[in-house]
Amino acid sequence: MAERDVVRLGGGQGFWGDDLDAPVRMVEGGPLDYLMLDYLAEVTMSILRKLRNRDPSAGYARDFVTLMERIWPTCVERSVRVIANAGGINPRGCADALEDVGREVGVAGKARIGLVRGDDLIPHLEELLDAGHDMAHLETGAPLSSIVDRVRSANAYLGAGPVVEALRQGADVVVTGRVADPALAAAPLIHEHDWAMDDHDRMAAAVLAGHVVECGAQSTGGNCMAEWWSIPRLDIAGFPVVEVEPSGAFTVTKHPGSGGRVDRASVSEQIVYEIGDPRRVITPDVVADFTTIRLTDQGGDRVRLEGIRGAPPTDSYKVSVAYAAGWTAAGTLLYTWPDALQKARAADVVLRRRFDRLGLRLDAVHTELVGWNAGHGPLAGDPPTDAPEVQLRVAVRSTHRASVERFSREMAPLVLTGPPSVTGYAGGRARVQEIMAYWPALIPKKAVDPHVRVEVRLV
């Protein structure tokens, strides 16, 4: 096969807060046609909304703009196009900031910014509810109207279509708000290979490629259990690159000389990550059947995936709503030998008795003994005998803010009034945070699509 028939797509950021240098290594460390960057977790939109309420020009991932300042000239020189959902709830603000940076780093006249909007449902929320779209909770069936006064963000997960449109109009850097993660990565494959959106098998291949790259190093040896101790040089982990052929078959690999490992184990773990029924992996563009994937470990950090089948997509988009659901805080103290575990347990009893005496209105109190049962809970088995130390961690939640505030002042006194050989309260008072709960729902595509806009501008 001729080189040009392969599209090389890389995932350079698995979440907002991932390795800041990884995208630089992706652009400089080997051949690449497209770089996909994911910044939006389920809860990120509500945080961005809070930031934008304070400053109307905010509400997007600033880190992306800072990153482009570093890599944009190289991207232009090497013809690497970038697709990122960094726009958050203010994709236009992100594109404006990007334009300023583009001029500063000398890409004016050489690069186009594509902007995809319309995922944000907040501007039309009442209109949508009035039109009978109840956006019922996918698990409980409760209508959105039951919490509508507490909604902080509501976004539809758009498909690849508008991103493909931005690329067709010549965009070199595409900024979006909420787009389904694998769709973000599928778009350049659809564009470059000129695949039809109703070619379900190829859509499934595109979505699988996106699923493999969307979590960064999780497919190249990061967070991989299989002989994790022998996975080399995660300090310079290669992030995933997929080499996608016109047929939809592709090879997962990483840049030469980078750390990490691409093999059957690392790729398989990522394929099964955060899926439900593998025969019906639902995305906006296709329903993919992950049981039809053929995986071949070719050695040399190359894994080939082919054969995946797809079925027509549903007529709905998934909607992710964040709503205010009370207050939470967590505090910790370190107890040491001798009898560390017993001291921590005694301190927990003291604490809970104080909550009762103070009449705190707490909806839930959760105690963990870090070093024994914080990770695996009741599955952790018998407590360690004669543990050198154990950390007491107590977390609470309540719709009554004052009770959580008071809780946050109850851990520190234990240093002087509780069991002995305790330390580790240097961090100060437990921070009280508002809980943003997650409300998954569906909405007909035809109710959202009329609001979707694609714009492309020259820097």
Binding site: A226, L295, A374, G375, P378
Partner: protein, 127 residues
């Protein structure tokens, strides 16, 4: 037959979706996969997690990857942003599942002895 922990036969990864978690379990090779299919049932996984998971457990099979996928509802004390647990997103439920013990033929137990655990004498500088 010998009782061994699942960690010796398979590796796994878990993640969250609302208050549900999924755990993908991948057999180290295709000869081990039928043992997982036979013994690591949804019922056994539900029982294994006890009070840590409040809702039902569903199992899906991916024979093409020698993998099983478990969806655990009510697994995260309310879900990622509500949960009071350190592991609010269910990232280590995968390792917790691998604590489970299953019965395997003696030769399989012998062949896989020590798999899934750091070799004796290993140091962090080695990688």
């Amino acid at each position: 037959m010998t009782r061994v922990r699942l960690v010796q036969l398979a590796h796994a990864r878990s993640g969250d979706k609302g208050d549900s978690a999924n755990i993908g379990v991948v057999a180290y090779d295709e000869t081990l996969y039928p043992l997982l299919v036979e013994q690591v049932s949804a019922e056994r996984v539900k029982e294994h997690f006890g009070t840590w998971v409040t809702g039902p457990v569903t199992r899906y099979e991916l024979p093409n990857l020698c993998a099983l996928n478990f969806v655990l509802r009510g697994a995260l004390d309310g879900g990622g942003t509500v949960s009071l647990r350190t592991d609010a997103q269910g990232k280590v439920l995968s390792a917790a599942l691998l604590r489970m013990e299953i019965e395997v033929p003696d030769d399989v137990a012998a062949r896989t002895a020590g798999w899934g655990r750091v070799p004796e004498g290993w140091t962090p500088e080695e990688s």
